[in-house]
């Protein structure tokens, strides 16, 4: 059974790009573009990996991550954070909150794919 990746992102073109790359590699890709309802979506059908944007309408990626780590069900869920806000402060914030990996936009497709593969090993 193919591993499921949930992409939480509000830029349609970026969703399109990530979906394309991952689908081609055999992952099942789900997308969600609203920050406010993201945690419910995750709890309802937990994916094997989450690709998380920071600037989302309704609720920021940091807040979503914090809630994930606080809930025992999702505390170990791998999260790959992709953000256009590439400052060091944002990276530190993400690491403090327990991000699995942090990448800045624009990203290289190959690197994203590599990370996804590495994070969902088994």
């Amino acid at each position: 059974m193919a591993k499921r990746v949930l992409v939480i992102e509000d830029e349609p073109n970026i969703i399109e790009a990530i979906s394309f790359i991952l689908s081609r590699d055999g992952w099942t890709v789900h997308t969600h573009s609203d920050g406010e309802t993201a945690n419910e979506r995750i709890t309802a059908t937990p994916p094997d990996l989450i690709i998380l944007d920071v600037m989302l309408p309704g609720k920021s990626g940091f807040d979503i991550l914090r809630d994930l780590r606080e809930s025992p069900q999702t505390t170990d869920l791998p999260v790959l954070m992709l953000t256009a806000r590439g400052q060091t402060r944002d990276r530190e914030m993400a690491e403090r909150l327990g991000v699995t990996q942090f990448m800045t936009k624009p990203f290289s497709n190959a690197e994203v794919l590599e990370s996804v593969r590495a994070l969902v090993r088994d």
Binding site: D10, E11, I14, E16, I18, F20, I21, M55, P57, S108
Partner: protein
């Protein structure tokens, strides 16, 4: 026989002689050639007013009644004079350097210029001196009567009281004429002093002459005289040692505290060194005065008929021997004794009354705001004249009330016991710094009450003022309060009894009152001044001309107000008075003005005290005041400087804080802005990079190829738009934009904006009011069009109605042309209305917006540049923006 006319003529001639002496002395002093007036001999002779008619006549009577006890009256002052360097020197030094005018002034000054104490001491002195004055009237009157009796006339003896009234009147006139001729700052009366010095010589010579006559003319020589004394009763008198000690103490204390003695000892003292001469010369004078007392008494008792008044032996012995000339000379001696005492005593009392009662009352009745006018001198002189008359009137009344029957010595001792009630406060005040005002008040009050109760009131005789039952059984039958047997102590001489109790309880009250209360600042300052007088003053300083006082005031004012301000203040006043230089006349107005100025610096109380010291007579030396002022000024300046510095530092700190805050804010804004731009740039970049990598890998369908290259194109366009907007905004914000001002019409501008947006995928239906759009404009038409395009495009992008419609409505509001853009969507929430004009304040998601959220920020900048505004218009149903058009008038055309 001596006729009345002769006696009167002699008396009048003598008074006229005294007038001449006094007048000459005054003239001499005024001309400045009166150095001899300040000689120690004049000073010593002036002290002889201690020997009054009581001493002149009464001592003989005293000796006839009580033996050698009369000597105590001379012993006390002798002890005081011999020990002059202990108390007297200090009193004189204090009196001269502090400009003391009376004993009441001394006590009041010492205890912080206390008005209450001044009044108390004055009243005490007036009450205590009254019997003494009566005594003088009585003696002069009696001496007249003696001549009348001897002549067999009845021209006086039948109405002693009337003649006493004439004597009192005459003395009042003489005293007023010479005692209040001028209001000398230091209260010196050269004429009076000279006159009493002459009188001192007259009375000494008269007594000695009578004595010589008695010894060699009556008794028959020195040897027989001694025998006569040995066989007389006087030698047999048993002397009570208690009375001796008590009376010696009493006379010594009274010598210091009697107002008239204080006047001549301290106030009229011209040179401290005079004390050295007086310390041996005055006891010698007293010795001479007392030398012939016993012989006269013995001879009088022997040769005069039984029942003769021994108080008048000095007159009656010569008369009985037919020596009218000697009798008249003797009469002049007694007359001198009485007049000199009355004159000085009334001057001293009048000074106290006018300085401590009348003037303060007058000033307080004028109220604090009253301007003290220049006629205060007239007030003071008038008060003194009235006081002199009043004091003599009191003496006369006492004379009438007491019936004139008491022995002279007894009346004198009552007065002594009264005035010495000031002694504890006075001695304590100059030797003990811990003495306080309340101690002095308590002591004097207690002493006065006991003296009045146990000695003064009973002196009016049984049923005089106190009923006999009170004297025998105490008030309300309380035996412990019997006037002459207080607390059950009986079988003791009434005088010693009263003296003992009053002085003991007075001292106790003074001591405990002082220990239990805390002195006020001025009291402490004065206390230190008085007690340490020898450390403070190098001899007495002169306070003569008014210029010196103005200068002192200037020096003090400079210390407080600062040198320039003080000089300007003084110079202005001097100019106003028509004087050159910096020193004006010290007028009351100027002093008030100065005090007000000083009060601004050091507070009203201190200023009042400081100025008061200079004006009312310096009870604190100038040096001390200046030291205080210096200290205060330094402290004030220092604290001012500190305050200034700390205010400056605070200001700098606040500026720094503000600047720092602004910087921090700017830094935060910059970070946020960069972060936003970074995000806005990276987002399209991400799509472009990702899809270009996908395209490069190849192997995809034509549809995919076309779709993905389309995305790359759109995102590249988005990037371009963003960069355009950023540049536009930057130019507008920096004010570097150039406006192409031109004539135009609102209709054309709206036309262009509507058509520019008509082909957008998010185009909105626009409803216009064609008829109202023809409004002339003078502005940058392209920029205004840009604003309108933005507003129409936003409405198209964000209006969430099913059939979005935008109304564009020009109207005139408050004299200005506005254009409202109102759509039929949900509008913008209140909190978002605040932020929509901020940069990057895009509210909904990016896809629909297609911009970076800079549009409205740019619109606002444009409208500001054009001289109009753009605001959100709430309460219109949908999103509504109001553009206030810039003034349509071309300034160039209006001319």
């Amino acid at each position: 026989m001596v006729s009345f006319n002769l006696l009167l003529a002699v008396a009048l001639a003598y008074v006229a002689f005294l007038f001449v002496i006094a007048f000459a002395a005054e003239r001499s002093a005024e001309k400045g050639s009166g150095a001899w007036l300040r000689s120690p001999w004049i000073y010593t002779l002036s002290l002889s007013i201690y020997c009054t008619a009581w001493t002149f006549y009464g001592a003989v009577g005293y000796a006839a009644r009580s033996g050698l006890e009369y000597l105590t009256i001379y012993l006390g002052p002798t002890v005081v004079m011999i020990g002059w360097w202990w108390v007297l020197r200090k009193l004189v030094r204090i009196g001269r350097s502090q400009r003391i005018t009376s004993i009441a002034d001394l006590v009041s000054s010492r205890f912080g210029k206390s008005t209450a104490l001044g009044v108390m001491v004055t009243l005490l002195m007036v009450v205590a001196a009254t019997p003494y004055l009566a005594l003088q009237l009585q003696s002069v009157t009696l001496s007249f009567a003696v001549f009348a009796d001897a002549a067999g006339d009845s021209w006086l003896s039948e109405d002693l009281t009337r003649s006493a009234l004439w004597v009192a009147l005459g003395l009042a006139v003489f005293t007023i004429i010479f005692g209040t001729r001028n209001l000398d700052a230091n209260e010196r009366h050269h004429g009076i002093v000279m006159a009493i010095a002459v009188e001192a010589v007259v009375k000494l010579c008269a007594l000695v002459a009578v004595g010589v006559f008695v010894v060699w003319g009556v008794a028959g020589g020195f040897g027989p005289m001694i025998d006569l004394i040995d066989t007389s009763d006087i030698a047999q008198w048993q002397q009570s040692s208690g009375r001796w000690v008590g009376l010696t103490f009493l006379s010594g204390a009274a010598f210091l505290t009697l107002p008239r003695m204080f006047q001549v000892l301290v106030v009229e003292n011209a040179d401290e060194k005079n004390l050295i001469t007086a310390s041996w010369a005055f006891p010698l004078y007293l010795l001479t005065m007392s030398l012939f007392v016993v012989p006269i008494a013995v001879v009088g008792l022997k040769i005069l008929p039984e029942g003769s008044n021994p108080d008048l032996f000095v007159l009656t012995i010569p008369l009985s021997q037919g020596l009218d000339g000697l009798a008249i000379f003797s009469f002049l001696g007694g007359f001198s004794s009485a007049t000199s005492m009355v004159i000085v005593a009334t001057i001293a009392l009048a000074t106290m009354i006018s300085n401590h009662i009348v003037t303060p009352l007058w000033l307080s009745s004028k109220g604090p705001g009253a301007v003290v006018s220049g006629d205060i001198r007239q007030l003071v002189i008038g008060a003194r004249r009235l006081s002199i008359a009043g004091v003599l009137l009191l003496g006369y009344i006492y004379f009438r009330l007491s019936g004139g029957g008491e022995a002279l010595a007894a009346i004198g001792l009552i007065s002594f016991a009264g005035v010495v009630q000031v002694l504890p406060a006075m001695i304590g005040g100059i030797f003990w710094r811990g003495a306080t005002r309340w101690g002095a008040v308590a002591g004097i009050t207690v002493g006065f009450v006991i003296w009045a109760w146990s000695l003064f009131l009973p002196s009016f005789g049984p049923d005089g003022i106190l009923p006999q039952t009170v004297i025998d059984h105490g008030p309300f039958g309380i035996a412990a309060l019997r006037p002459q047997a207080l607390f059950g102590i009986t079988e003791i001489d009434p005088l010693i009894h009263a003296l003992m109790w009053s002085m003991l309880l007075n001292s106790v009250a003074f001591f405990f009152g002082s220990v239990l209360t805390f002195p006020q600042p001025l009291e402490r300052l004065q206390g230190a001044q008085f007690v340490n007088i020898f450390e403070h003053s190098e001899g007495a300083r002169a306070w003569t001309t008014s210029t010196a006082e103005a200068e002192d005031l200037l020096i003090m004012a400079q210390r407080i107000l600062g040198s320039n301000e003080a000089q300007v203040l003084f110079q202005q006043e001097a100019q106003r008075q028509g004087k050159a230089g910096y020193l004006p006349e010290v007028t009351p107005e100027f002093v008030q003005n100065l005090e007000r100025e000083l009060a601004g610096s050091v507070g009203a109380a201190t200023a009042h005290a400081m100025v008061g010291q200079f004006i009312q007579g310096a009870s604190v030396s100038v040096e001390d005041l200046i030291a205080v002022a210096d200290e205060a000024a330094q402290i004030m300046e220092y604290s001012n400087r500190l305050e200034q510095k700390s205010a400056e530092q605070e200001r700098t700190a606040r500026q720094l804080r503000d600047a720092n805050e602004k910087l921090t804010q700017l830094s935060i804004q910059k970070d946020a802005f960069l972060s936003q731009i970074s995000h806005e740039l990276r987002t399209p970049m991400t799509s472009i990079r990702s899809f270009s990598e996908i395209l490069r890998e190849g192997g995809m369908s034509d549809d995919e190829l076309s779709k993905y290259s389309g995305i790359i194109h759109d995102e590249a366009m988005r990037l371009t738009r963003l960069l355009d907007d950023l540049l536009d905004l930057s130019v507008l914000e920096n004010g570097q934009v150039t406006l192409n001002m031109a004539q135009g019409n609102l209709k054309t501008v709206i036309d262009r904006a509507v058509s520019a947006t008509a082909h957008s995928p998010t185009a909105i239906t626009v409803k216009r009011r064609d008829g109202e759009e023809t409004i002339p404009l003078y502005t940058d038409l392209d920029r205004l069009t840009q604003v309108f395009i933005n507003l129409i495009a936003n409405a198209g992008k964000y209006c969430d109605a099913k059939r979005p419609v935008l109304r564009i409505e020009p109207r005139k509001v408050a004299g200005e042309w506005v254009v409202d853009f109102i759509d039929n969507g949900a509008g913008i929430t209140k909190e978002n209305q605040q932020v929509i004009f901020e940069k990057f304040s895009r509210l909904s998601d990016h896809r629909k917006a297609g911009g970076a959220g800079l549009g409205l920020a740019i619109c606002r900048e444009i409208m500001t540049r054009l001289g109009g505004t753009i605001t959100y218009l709430p309460g219109q149903g949908g999103a509504a923006f109001r553009v206030v058009l810039p003034a349509a008038v071309n300034p160039a055309l209006t001319r």
